[in-house]
């Protein structure tokens, strides 16, 4: 009886607001897959003048994975935002296409430079990781039916996050100046990618519980309400942890990401600007101190300010300079996929992948990519604004912000806007950890948007309401 009541109550709502829009999602997803397939075909033509031999197998595999993800959303989160999955699919697919393009190196007749850090199975491997990412996506949607499930494991997740963060410092391997990798057999895993998610959940749960206390004003100084000294504790702990990452894993990027995530979530929870200022000052101070005694950090500043000076262009700044020259080479319209020379940039397939896009798709293509990222962030923030549950709101805000910050830090780094720090570009960079974690992040944001857009259960106790329904 009550089921029938709910149903008739639902149909009474305005249709536009109460539709899941899964059909739109499927249409946009098909469009995203079509763009990826076209890009893949263009790459083959650019490289060898013919379609890539693996176009059909890779293309079908990718399309099937994305369709599976769509079906999972239909089943597990029917009210979720319809844009997020197509946007993520487009980024992921273009990443695979670029990795395929890079593993082939030069064009027919101009072999270019074979990228020693890549093998010809990298695109396939990235596709396999995409499958793992989609599995993670579905699992998160399946197990986190309500975000409050996560709140039960607040401290467990916090501990897991810290362990994952600290793990590389203990048993990690230093690759390219940063000790953020754990090598297991032939795989290397970046635990920090997962730590990011675990800690975001922990921060959100912790801050929701403590936000009233943290919001209490202490003293007013220069027009800013300073928090009470005893409440500074958690901020100092987060700051200390990020400094430790900086020192033991020599990784400014990750440290900036975690500290930024924490401070911004603190700000959203308490609405107190003072936290932002304190956080910013602490970070700048910490980085300055670190740069004075860690050569790796101070060197990053030097090559940022003077990439072309002296021997920098052929020495420490070689990678940055190659990336910039590649982007300059691409110019406004790019060389076209397969026609550029991105293979000169060391590690172009991971940290510097956006410079390869800039070179071959040009300024126009790179701006389109940035706008896709921007749109993804915007959909996340929209979910945060719309959802009622404070924990879900805080978590979505934090996750959307950390996605934006990650794109800013890496794209800003490789384009010379800010000092370069090696972190991955979400969805685009080669590497399984980043891809799987990014899909899990999207699953969380989609779950929260599903909660936000889901029609409220009908208050069946409402006398007036039930009367109206019975009358129908």
């Amino acid at each position: 009886m009550s089921a029938a009541v709910t149903q008739s109550g639902t149909t009474a709502e305005p249709a536009t607001l109460r539709r899941g829009r899964r059909g739109s999602e499927l249409l946009m997803l098909a469009f995203a897959v079509a763009v990826v397939l076209l890009a893949f075909a263009a790459t083959g033509y650019g490289l060898n003048g013919k379609l890539p031999p693996v176009l059909l197998t890779y293309g079908l595999g990718f399309a099937a994975l994305m369709f599976a993800a769509h079906l999972a959303v239909r089943w597990l989160a029917p009210w979720a935002d319809p844009l997020m999955l197509p946007l993520a699919a487009l980024l992921n697919g273009l990443g695979i296409v670029m990795i395929y393009r890079l593993q082939q190196s030069g064009r027919a007749g101009n072999p270019g430079n074979v990228i020693s850090t890549m093998s010809t199975s990298d695109a396939l491997l990235q596709l396999v990781w995409t499958a793992v990412g989609i599995i993670a996506f579905v699992l998160v949607l399946a197990f986190v039916r309500q975000t409050r499930v996560l709140q039960r494991y607040t401290y467990t997740l916090g501990a897991i996050g810290l362990v994952l963060l600290a793990l590389p410092a203990v048993i990690g391997t230093t690759i390219n100046g940063a000790k953020v990798w754990i090598v297991v057999g032939s795989f290397s895993i970046q635990p920090e990618e997962f730590a990011k998610l675990a800690l975001a959940v922990f921060f959100a749960a912790y801050l929701v519980a403590k936000r009233d206390v943290l919001a209490l004003a202490g003293r007013r100084f220069l027009g800013i309400d300073l928090p009470r000294a005893r409440d500074l504790g958690p901020v100092l702990i987060a700051w200390g942890a990020s400094l430790l990452i900086l020192i033991f894993e020599t990784d400014i990027g990750t440290s900036a990401l975690f500290f930024g995530l924490f401070v911004v979530m603190l700000y959203i929870a308490t609405q107190r600007t003072s936290w932002l200022l304190i956080g910013l000052l602490l970070f700048l101070g910490g980085t300055y101190i670190a740069s004075t005694f860690i050569s790796h950090v101070s060197e990053r500043f030097t090559i940022w300010l003077h990439p072309f000076a002296g021997h920098n262009a052929t020495g420490a700044a070689y990678q940055l300079v190659q990336g910039l020259e590649g982007m300059g080479f691409g110019g406004i319209f790019g060389t076209g996929l397969g026609h550029g020379q991105p293979y000169w940039t060391p590690l172009v397939q991971s940290d510097f992948i956006v410079t390869a896009f800039g070179e071959e798709l040009g300024l126009t293509g790179l701006m389109a990519l940035l706008l896709i990222f921007g749109l993804l962030v915007q959909r996340g923030l929209r979910a945060a604004l719309a959802v009622r549950d404070p924990f879900a709101k805080l978590l979505a805000g934090g996750l959307a912000f950390v996605l934006a910050l990650q794109v800013f830090v890496i794209v800003g780094g490789v384009t010379g806007l800010i000092p370069l720090t090696g972190i991955t570009t979400p969805f685009l960079s080669q590497g399984g950890s980043s891809l799987v974690a990014s899909w899990a992040l999207i699953a969380l944001l989609m779950r929260i948007s599903d909660m936000a857009r889901r029609p409220a259960p009908q208050p069946i106790q409402d006398e007036g309401m039930t009367q109206v329904v019975r009358a129908v």
Binding site: G109, A313, G331, G336, Q341, L381, F408
Partner: protein, 492 residues
């Protein structure tokens, strides 16, 4: 919490806006500078991947391709080819994997297709899938005149240069230098081999890489008497070519113990010959005294009007300045008036003297590039002839022209035997010879200088030749100039 979330949204927006601004800066505004960055591996690699534009000698009514890029068999790489080897080398320069010279350097943006004017053409090429191609550069050079110049210089065998100009436009018809280099040697794609070739040329004491036509200077000798006469006639210090001027057999330089004599100590006419006779006999004493009479300031002014003392001339290759310093010492002024002391000229400057007289006193800006066309044959750049200056009035130019005519037509004229009727028959060449002493205490062999234009009644070509250590201008340089004129006018 929504208020804070809105602010964070703004912060995210700001981050993306910053990224977008920065990538625009890098890829739209900095792109050119990044491509020009030394050691840019992509720019370096790119040069073999597209067809560089051709260079065509289009002067004299015939088009001859003198530099083009051809696909190397079995590869996608293009290689530069100069079908005529050394003949056009001072004009084209070379295009090697490391550097460019000559027109290859001066017109590199057009030839490589990176010039802003080609951006739209390139974009259409990208959209239609056509491979990038450079623009074609058409030169004013006449292949016939250039070939004659080179073979005449080479057969004489001494370091020398010749320049020919169309006097009414300033179009450079020939620009030859000897000894020179074979630009095909620089087109190798093998860096080590290129270094070897480059070092060999750089170590060669005969300086084959030096473009003597525009980048070497020599004393003008008696050809400078054109400028001295211009100054005297223009300022009214000498009324007309028929005005008698003092020309003693010897003349002690003012305030100096040095005594100046005419060639072989001859007397000049009756001692006070008309200016025209002093000119075609090339009397040193007459012009030294004339220099004293008109004074250093006016000499400097007229020399500058003829194009000397200009460090910024480009054709578009940059031209070394020809110098006539402003002097104060009277003895130096007297020597400078006959093209000695510190006067120096490029062969191009020599040609500009004659071209000015041929063009009624107006000096046209010399230029090499007549047109640049995009791969679809539309012209993206076309040179309009423009005057550089007017050193002398039309009547003065006519007077000096009549004096130059007598150099070859009067049996006593210095150029009669080699550029007059015995040598060229009815073709009238107006000329001035020069035999310039040089070296410390004039110990070096004299440089032979000859500047002229022809035909006298309807000037079509002005030619200057300087042969280093060639001896008498009339004997060494004039026959070379005559061959260039005959080749260009089609009267061989």
């Amino acid at each position: 919490m929504n208020r804070a979330l809105m602010r964070i949204s703004l912060a995210c927006l700001a981050m993306f806006v910053l990224l977008l601004i920065n990538v625009n800066y890098v890829q739209a505004f900095e792109a050119g500078r990044l491509s020009a960055q030394s050691g840019n591996i992509r720019t370096f690699d790119q040069q073999f991947q597209y067809q560089r534009g051709s260079i065509i000698a289009a002067g004299g009514g015939k088009s001859v391709t003198i530099a083009e890029s051809r696909l190397v068999k079995g590869t996608n790489d293009y290689k530069r080819d100069y079908p005529f080897g050394a003949i056009f080398a001072p004009v084209t320069g070379y295009d090697s994997v490391y550097s460019d010279t000559g027109i290859e350097a001066a017109e590199d943006k057009n030839l490589s297709g990176t010039a802003p004017a080609l951006a739209v053409h390139n974009l259409i090429g990208v959209l239609t899938g056509k491979p990038k191609q450079g623009a074609t550069v058409y030169l004013t050079i006449s292949a016939a005149a250039q070939e004659a110049a080179y073979s005449a210089l080479a057969s004489f065998g001494k370091p020398a240069a010749a320049v020919a100009i169309n006097p009414s436009t300033g179009a450079i018809l020939a620009m030859a230098s000897y000894p020179t280099f074979n630009p095909n040697e620089f087109t190798t794609l093998n860096g080590a081999k290129l270094d070897q070739i480059d070092n060999r040329y750089l170590a060669d004491p005969s300086q084959p890489l030096l473009n003597r036509a525009i980048n070497a200077t020599y004393p003008p000798g008696s050809t400078f008497k054109i400028v001295t006469s211009s100054t005297a006639l223009s300022t009214g210090k000498v009324a007309s070519p028929q005005t008698p001027v003092p020309a003693p057999a010897s003349f002690q330089l003012t305030g100096s113990s040095s005594v100046l004599i005419n060639n072989d100590g001859e007397i000049c006419g009756d001692g006070t010959p008309p200016l025209i006779q002093a000119f075609y006999l090339s009397c040193n004493t007459a012009f030294a005294k004339l220099g004293q009479k008109v004074g250093p300031a006016d000499l400097h002014k007229y020399a500058s009007a003829y194009g000397m003392n200009n460090p910024n001339l480009t054709i578009p290759l940059s031209v070394s300045p020809s110098n006539y310093p402003l002097l104060t010492d009277p003895a130096q002024v007297e020597l400078s008036a006959i093209g000695q002391f510190n006067d120096t000229v490029t062969p191009l400057q020599e040609a500009m003297f004659a071209a000015t007289i041929a063009n009624h006193g107006t000096l046209m800006k010399p230029y090499l590039v007549t047109e640049v066309t995009a791969p679809d044959l539309t012209a993206i750049q076309r040179t309009q002839p423009s005057p550089l200056s007017q050193p002398v009035s039309s009547p003065v130019a006519a007077g000096i022209g009549s004096m130059m005519l007598q150099v070859t037509q009067n049996p006593a004229g210095t150029g009669y035997a080699t550029a007059g009727p015995p040598a060229v028959g009815s073709l009238q060449i107006a000329a001035k010879t020069g035999t310039a002493q040089n070296g410390i205490n004039n110990t070096n062999l004299n440089d032979a200088v000859f500047t002229c234009y022809a035909p006298y009644s309807n000037p079509q070509i002005a030619v200057a030749v300087i042969v280093q250590g060639g001896g008498y201008g009339a004997a060494a340089a004039a026959p070379i100039a005559v061959r260039i004129i005959q080749a260009y006018l089609g009267k061989t």
